[in-house]
């Protein structure tokens, strides 16, 4: 079995793999960044007492969380053009990943905020801090500490979910594997290499999260 492994083909396709890696990296980075913004806004609306903000945010979060990402991608790519809105592949992918992860991130941040003990907020009120001061000095530093690990998890999920974009002809890592399989019929070599590159991205993200947790969170909260 192992003797059949064709290393030469992997090197022949290395430039294409690197293109795919760059594309996956770019799409993921932009999507994670936008999803963090979308998630924060959605969370702020979700916990606000203004009904006009709260209910649309609940609807958005529940709709996204109850449908598969593939359906969302297909809807944006094949469904919206019939309504007259046509977005190119990569942008469709980024929007889909942003909307999808945004809903999960909103819930992660909300869980972090609600995890802060009520007594601390009451103490803040008793000390005469206003709403924004309480957020800035008491709630957010602690909430951030609780949210970084699940946020990292969500980012990793997003990177892996970006593989679905291969179905709308985006040339990312998984698509490179599929292309190589369809041209050379060597799925073992193709997908092992793809898996290796995804692992590289994963370890980069993990290092980034560890660093941010050390640098940002502990100094602020403790």
């Amino acid at each position: 079995m192992l003797a059949d492994f064709n290393l030469r083909i992997i090197f022949e396709y290395l430039p294409l793999f690197l293109t795919g890696l760059r594309s996956t990296f770019f799409i993921s980075a932009v999507s994670i960044f936008l999803a963090l913004i979308a998630g924060t806004i959605a969370c702020a609306c979700r916990i606000s007492s203004i009904k006009l903000l709260k209910y649309p945010a609940i609807a958005y979060i529940e709709i996204i969380r109850s449908t598969p990402l593939l359906v969302q991608i297909y809807f944006l790519y094949f469904g919206l053009p019939t309504l007259g809105i046509r977005v190119p592949e990569i942008q469709t992918g980024i929007i889909a990943l942003m909307l999808n992860s945004g809903a999960y991130i909103a819930e992660i941040i909300r869980a972090g905020i609600t995890s802060v003990d009520d007594g601390q907020i009451e103490a803040g009120v008793a000390s005469g801090l206003n709403y924004f001061q309480r957020m800035r000095f008491i709630i957010l530093p602690q909430a951030l500490g609780a949210t970084v690990p699940p946020l990292l998890g969500q980012s990793i999920v997003l990177v892996k979910d970006s593989a679905l974009l291969s179905l709308i002809s985006v040339m990312e890592l998984t698509r490179v594997g599929q292309t190589m399989t369809s041209e050379r019929f060597m799925p073992t070599e193709a997908f092992l290499t793809v898996a290796f590159f995804y692992m590289c991205i994963y370890f980069c993200l993990k290092a980034l999260a560890d660093w941010s947790q050390r640098k940002l969170i502990y100094r602020e909260a403790y």
Binding site: Y77, F78, P81, T82, R86, P88, E89, S166, L167, I168, S169, Q178, T179, T181, S182, E183, F185, P187
Partner: protein, 267 residues
Amino acid sequence: MRQKTFFSLVLALTAVLCFSAMTFAGTLTDIVKRGELRVAVQSGAAPYAFVDKHGEHAGSMIDFTKGMADAMGVKLVVLDFDWDGLIPALLSGKADILAADMTPTLKRALKITFTDPWIEVQPCIFTRPDTDFQTLEDVNKKGVTVGVLLGSTGETMAKQYMPNAEIKSYKGGGRMVVQALIAGHVDAGVNDDLAVLTVLPDFPPNSVRLLEKRLGQGKDPLAFAVNHDSVNLWQWINLYFKTIRADGTYDKNIAYWMEGTDWKKDH
């Protein structure tokens, strides 16, 4: 010490047995012994192989392979794969026969063995009615996007005959290319004419225009395929087609599935 020697002897014997079993087991013998003929199809390809409105596999190639299974006295097992998963399915031993609308190419034949072609189809270019494309030269321009199926001969032909156009490849059957064309993500598509014509009734009328009925040589043979070491199965399939061509079963199949659209009522 003796125990160790005995153990290694057993291991060596098992290895030799396994190896010889792998070397001498002919696929045809395996199929009969197993009682199942496993066929890999791409079920998004009417009228070759598709899932009909009763939720069952139907199509010209399903009928052919059903006939083969009957002649062998075994059960037919149909396995669905995406286009680019078909050859790996055969190579990994998941299927005995590859029954897809596949063209025997020299590149593919490096990995699998093709039977004699059983039909010839015509690759065609199609587009939306609102485009002003008239010939191949109109499509072969910078800024034009052409949709194809990943790993299909349509993809190879598009790259060969339209080097200036941008090629986008899709997965999930010919329907996806037509869908992408109608949604406006591509300006034209390349596929077999039969594969295009049979999915058109599922879309709004007049949403697709056949631009050029013949691309390249205009002939695209289709063949079944088996693994390199299944020589006996390969010969058997060729003999099967000779037999059914002689007794008229072949002509009936082609007339029903390829030349008319009466099958749409039943499936």
